[in-house]
Amino acid sequence: MEQLQFEYPAGAPASQRVLVGVVGSGDLEVMVEPGTSGTTTIHVTTSVDGYGKVWDAQLSRVFGAGPRAAMRIRIHDFGATPGVVGMRLAEAFEALGTDGGEQS
């Protein structure tokens, strides 16, 4: 098991909190709560050790692509592939709202 921390620039706080996924085999749980304005923080707990660079690459691509709402994200991962991680994040963003849940 390994703990990882990431931080990305963001817009205004997300408008609500969202939970998607399950800590089941090959899956993960993504908890999103409104963050402090301007910053998204991500705390990952993963069952698979040594994949920090893969998490960094994937999360940087997702959160570096454009402005998103500021979120406090907690990920509990149980061996999900990057493809599954991407789908769960997309599911969370969809639940937050099309703009990533930024408060207008």
Binding site: L19, V22, E29, M31
Partner: protein, 283 residues
């Protein structure tokens, strides 16, 4: 099930714990208590290198079924095999105790427990066992006032200490995929030997512990398709039926007598078990 009904039904088995609770409660009445954002995670799993889940694998949902106050306790089978530790166990026990307290104050709250569990979480050992004992006591307390309905949909099934909890329920709903047994198949194989009990022989396992067999032996009350509407209708009808005249667990003398007639020198067949329990099978 024909093609048309297969396409239109919503599989209950494929739903996660939270979605199952949503499916059973009256639309718009779902309210989660002690939820994932309340930070009630297991304090023991991370220390042992196991990734926790924010709700510890248990969803406590308060709402209404058929307009009556009901609490639904749904166990997430995909997280650690639905195992119950200190936090998840306390959530179930606490909710049942509050439901009993509601009844003593004149609010007729009923309970539905969605079993999808291998029993105690081994990483939390005695704390999980203590919580399961609390759940047993709370079911026996609450069922004096209002029915406690258990549902075993599958595919995990219900084993260990939680199979006793299922046995204490006022009514039990099962599907074809359900299994109910004190010990899981692999535990029995380990103790009795593969010649007696082959845990990989699925038809054999289901023939003894599957939903169909449990209905035929009177250890469950309703046999339903894997269909959310059918399961909701069965649960609602049983809740409306009120507290049974005698709970299954109160008829233990009858079951002991059934067992006394069994000759353990003979290897039992599923039909043997049906024959032994047939007189006790409730209509």
């Amino acid at each position: 099930m024909n093609h048309a009904s297969l396409l239109t039904r919503e599989s209950f088995i494929e739903l996660g714990a939270r979605a199952r609770a949503h499916a059973l409660l009256d639309p718009g009445s779902f309210r989660e208590l002690a939820g994932p954002f309340d930070r009630l995670v297991s304090p023991w799993l991370e220390r042992q290198g196991v990734v926790p889940q924010a709700d510890d694998g248990v969803v406590v949902a308060k709402g209404r079924i058929g307009g009556q106050p009901t609490v639904v306790l749904a166990i997430e089978g995909a997280f650690q095999g639905g195992s119950l530790g200190e936090v998840g166990g306390a959530k179930i026990a606490g909710a049942l105790e509050l439901a009993a307290q509601d009844n003593r104050r004149g609010v007729p709250t009923r309970a539905v427990i969605l079993f999808e569990t291998g029993g105690v979480r081994l990483q939390e050992a005695n704390l999980g066992l203590a919580a399961i004992a609390d759940i047993h006591a709370a079911i026996v307390d609450l069922r004096r006032y209002q029915p406690v309905v258990g549902v075993i949909a599958g595919t995990v099934g219900c084993f260990g200490g939680m199979s006793i909890a299922a046995g204490l329920c006022s009514y039990l709903v099962v599907t074809r995929e359900a299994r109910l047994g004190l010990n899981g198949p692999q535990v029995i194989e380990q103790e009795a030997g593969v010649a007696e009990y082959d845990s990989r022989d699925r038809p054999f396992i289901w023939s003894f512990t599957g939903g169909e067999q449990r209905i035929a032996t009177g250890l469950a009350d309703r046999y339903v398709e894997d269909d959310s509407d059918a399961i909701r209708a069965a649960v609602q009808a049983l809740l409306a039926g009120g507290v049974p005249a005698a709970h299954r667990s109160e008829r233990y003398a009858h079951y002991l007598q059934c067992l006394a007639e069994y000759d353990p020198a003979r290897q039992p067949e599923p039909e043997t078990v049906r024959a032994i329990y047939a007189p006790g099978a409730k209509s």
